[in-house]
Every structure is written in structure tokens, then in C-alpha cells.
């Protein structure tokens, strides 16, 4: 089981406690080209030591993902829809993506309590869906999944 999660808070309580501890996930890969060294250090310090944690550049991700990850449950975490598009473009097969949280910043409009999107991000989501990837809004395992189409259709 691989959970693909979009969450601009990156590694935080919902991810660590709500998903990884709660579902017993074994690994967490963060895929991001823009993350600072300081952020990387903080994450390496705070992710529980028993979790296999990697921070990957999008360019390197294919090699890492081609080995069979699905024998152990884990999560691939990105900060926005565009990283998912890059993964798809690199040939990674993704059946389902969860949007766990995209929070307010200038240029984004609100779609639900914890989802704010820019027009560009809405377009990126539509493109993800066009790859036959299901996109669900879900903050926590215990919460209901909502198809993102329900929120972004006009």
C-alpha cells in the first residue's frame, strides 16, 4: 500500500500521528525540489526513528520508486499537485492521490476547511485526473474521502 498525499504542511502531526503511527506505515518519502537544508534537518530530527525516511529530488525519484515499494506500506508526500504531475510524467503509476491539506496563501481560494487552491493548482488537479488517477480530499484516515471533483466543479 502506497499512500500519495499532497499537504503543504509537509511532515507534521497529521502525517506522523494520524497516518503513519495510526496505520503502521513503515516508510515516508518526501519528494520536493525546493526544500531547504534547514527544513530537511528539522524533518530528519522529528520523523520517528523507526520510519524509513527519505527526501528525494523529483529527478531521482524514478530510480527509487522503480524498486518494489509496495511490499511495505508507506507514504509519498508532496507539497502541491505539480509534484504529482512530475511523477506521472516520469512514468510512475498512481491510482489514487489524497489532498490532505493545502492552506491559505495569497492567490489561493477556499474550497473546504483545509483546501485552498490557485487557478493553476485547479488546472494541475484536472490534469492529474486525466491520467486516470483518482484525487480524493481527506485529511485523516478516520475522515470521509471526498472526490475533489465535487469541490472544484463550478
Amino acid at each position: 500500500m502506497i499512500i500519495y498525499r499532497i499537504d503543504d504542511r509537509l511532515v507534521h502531526g497529521q502525517v506522523i500521528v494520524g497516518w503513519i503511527k495510526n496505520l503502521g506505515l513503515k516508510w515516508l518519502y518526501l519528494i520536493d525540489n525546493e526544500i531547504t537544508e534547514n527544513q530537511q534537518m528539522i524533518m530528519r530530527l522529528t520523523v520517528p526513528q523507526e520510519i524509513e525516511f527519505k527526501i528525494l529530488n523529483i529527478a531521482n525519484v524514478k530510480d527509487e520508486i522503480t524498486r518494489d515499494l509496495s511490499d511495505k506500506p508507506g507514504m509519498i508526500l508532496v507539497k502541491s499537485p505539480s509534484e504529482i504531475l512530475s511523477l506521472l510524467a516520469a512514468g510512475v503509476k498512481i491510482k489514487k492521490v489524497h489532498i490532505g491539506g493545502l492552506h491559505f496563501k495569497p492567490g489561493r481560494s477556499q474550497y473546504c476547511e483545509f483546501i485552498f487552491l490557485s487557478p493553476k493548482e485547479v488546472e494541475a488537479i484536472r490534469e492529474i485526473i486525466s491520467h486516470d488517477t483518482v484525487v480524493m480530499v481527506q485529511s485523516l484516515p478516520s475522515r470521509r474521502e471526498i472526490p475533489v471533483e465535487k469541490l472544484i466543479q463550478k
Partner: protein
Amino acid sequence: MIGIIVVSHDGVAEAMVKCCETIIGKLDCLETISFFSDEHLIDLEKKFDVALDNLSACNGILILIDMFGGSPSNIAIKKLSQNPEIEIISGFNIPMLLELISRSNLGDVKELKEKLLNRSKAGIIDIKGLIKERLKK
């Protein structure tokens, strides 16, 4: 299912439970009680009785109170004197509540109490000390 009552002064119980629900999700069989500065002890005891009544179908009751020796503590101990099966822990924090919300349908109330005592103390961390230790590795 173990019935849980989280009790505090001034809305702390509600705020902390809501915080945990944001991080991890909802827990059934959990009641929160707050005691406000204009309320009489009789009102606090009534709230306890309502909560205990709501949880009457549960196997075991665990009451979490903000501090030992306050009014919530006094009424919780009164309830314990009426029902010796009740367990009470003081000094709850977010790590305790998170552990609770992930676990409460496992084991009996005494096991849960021990888990929560350990987890809440383990969640009190000198972060700089922890970082120094991890950086050594």
C-alpha cells in the same frame, strides 16, 4: 469500549480534544466537561452525572483531570468514592490524549491508564536535549 471523561477549568478540555481530533480523528465514548469561574460546585457535579450517565454502557470509566486538588479533581474523587471502579489521571497533555484516541478500544481501563501515564510523561521532552542526542548518531 472504555468511557472517557476529560475535565478541566475554562474550556481547556474541549480545546484539547478538538486539537487531537484535528491531528488524529474522532473518539467515541468521550465526554468533555469544563468548569467556569461563575459556576457553583453543584453545577460541576451535575455535569459529571450527565457524562457518567451518557457513558453508562461503557466497560470502565477513565476520568482525566487537569490538576490534582482543583474542583474537577475534588468532584472526580467524589465520584470515585461512589464507584471504586473509576480510574482518574491528573495532568493530561496532548501526547496523552493522542495516545488515548488511537487506543481506547484496546485492553481494560487499568491497562489504558498505565499506557496513558507512560505516554504522557514520555511526551514531555526537552527538545534541545533530544536534538543533541539525535545529531550525535
